[in-house]
């Protein structure tokens, strides 16, 4: 091989860089889903827990367009067989009234910083 003295150290440095996240986090604590404080008076959310966990941000994003721009006011929940106003404060935070013990726990753990509450008022 030509230039082995350059290529092989180069490959080693490359491999070290590529695997940086793995060895840097060696021995660090594994991520665990934060414990959330769920509302006591209600058994279920308007959709299944799995759906809400994965899709609540998309749902809120759709809601704000549907409510402000498209002229829809309510969300029919097939799970609960009931209509709810499409509103972060009137529906979501009516049950999940403690932002710090519910919203913030996951958002902090996953380092996301939604700007909902820059305007919307937490209860």
């Amino acid at each position: 091989m030509y230039d082995a003295n350059k290529i092989i150290p180069g490959l080693i440095i490359f491999a070290l860089f590529m695997t940086f996240p793995f060895w840097y986090n060696l021995g660090a604590e594994a991520y665990s889903t934060p414990e959330l404080e769920l509302p006591e008076d209600y058994e279920r959310c308007i959709e299944s827990t799995e759906f809400m966990r994965a899709e609540h941000m998309n749902m809120l994003d759709e809601w704000r367009d549907l409510y402000v721009r498209e002229g829809y006011q309510e969300y029919w929940s097939e799970l609960k067989q009931e209509s709810y106003p499409m509103s972060l404060t009137k529906t979501c935070m009516y049950c999940h009234s403690d932002k710090e013990e519910f919203c913030d726990r996951c958002h902090n753990a996953t380092a996301v910083d939604p700007y909902c509450w820059d305007c919307h008022i937490e209860p």
């Binding site: 959709e47 721009r69 498209e70 002229g71 305007c119 919307h120």
Partner: protein
């Protein structure tokens, strides 16, 4: 083979027929619905009766509006206003003259005119402000990028810009939770209380005005607003500009 194809087409035909008769069988699903309580109109319009309105009533209307929408009172020329007092001469500059009897300096209520041909909507680059089907010119605060084209476009000065975070000027205990505040860098204005209409209530200033402000459907010949416009003399602001404002002033 022939037989089974015939059967398949028959079955598919029956299924299509069934679905066309009762599509909900294909699965009732979660999703958005329109509220049954909401007030509907072809064209919302407001009529302000200058004979009935007095200073005290105007203050009441302003307070009701600004309280409901968490509008801050900022003590300088960068204040926010949705509805405010303005002397006749300023409002109807092109329809008055120097020898007007006593109306000249009388304060009138001024607010967004919810024009039929709104220049603010035309200039908005993000469609943050738009016309609803019922004529209300609405702001989508989520989309506003704060370019202030709409403020330059509006000939009535109905729009205010948030130079500061409005919460700095609002009392935390006094906030109305059902309506958001704005953030710095967003334009805001009167929205004919679209959120109240959607839940079946009349706008806050109309409720507070003790009958001095009428609100109704302009396309309905029997509505209050149409009746009173037929009977009494009324003005709109800057009609020459062709924006077709929908706030009428009874003189």
């Amino acid at each position: 083979m022939k037989n089974s194809r015939r059967k398949f087409i028959k079955f598919a035909g029956m299924a299509a027929l069934g679905w066309s008769i009762c599509p909900s069988l294909a699965g009732a699903r979660s999703g958005p619905r329109q509220s049954a309580d909401r007030l509907r109109a072809e064209r919302w319009a407001m009529v302000i009766d200058s004979e009935k309105l007095n200073d005290e009533l105007m203050d009441k209307c302003i307070e009701a509006c600004h309280k409901l929408h968490n509008v801050p009172d900022i003590p300088n020329d960068q204040n926010i206003k949705w509805i405010w007092k303005e002397p006749f001469y300023n409002l109807f500059h092109d329809q008055s003259h120097g020898y007007l009897k006593d109306k000249k300096s009388i304060p009138f209520l001024s607010l967004c005119n919810h024009c039929d041909n709104p220049p603010c909507v035309r200039v908005c680059p993000t469609q943050a402000t738009f016309s609803r089907d019922d004529g209300i010119v609405l702001m989508d605060f989520h989309r506003c990028i704060g370019c202030r084209f709409c403020m330059a476009g509006c000939p009535y000065g109905s729009r205010s810009f948030n130079y500061f975070n409005p919460r700095n000027f609002l009392d935390d205990d006094q906030l109305v939770h059902d309506y958001p505040t704005r953030e710095m860098g967003v334009v805001e204005k009167c929205e004919f209380c679209a959120h109240l209409l959607d839940q079946g209530d009349m706008p806050a200033c109309v409720e507070a005005s003790e009958g001095a402000i009428l609100f109704g459907d302009l396309n309905d010949p029997n509505s209050d607003v149409r009746k009173v416009l037929r009977e009494r003399y009324s003005l709109v602001r800057k009609p020459k500009l062709g924006t077709d404002p929908q706030v009428y002033y009874l003189i």
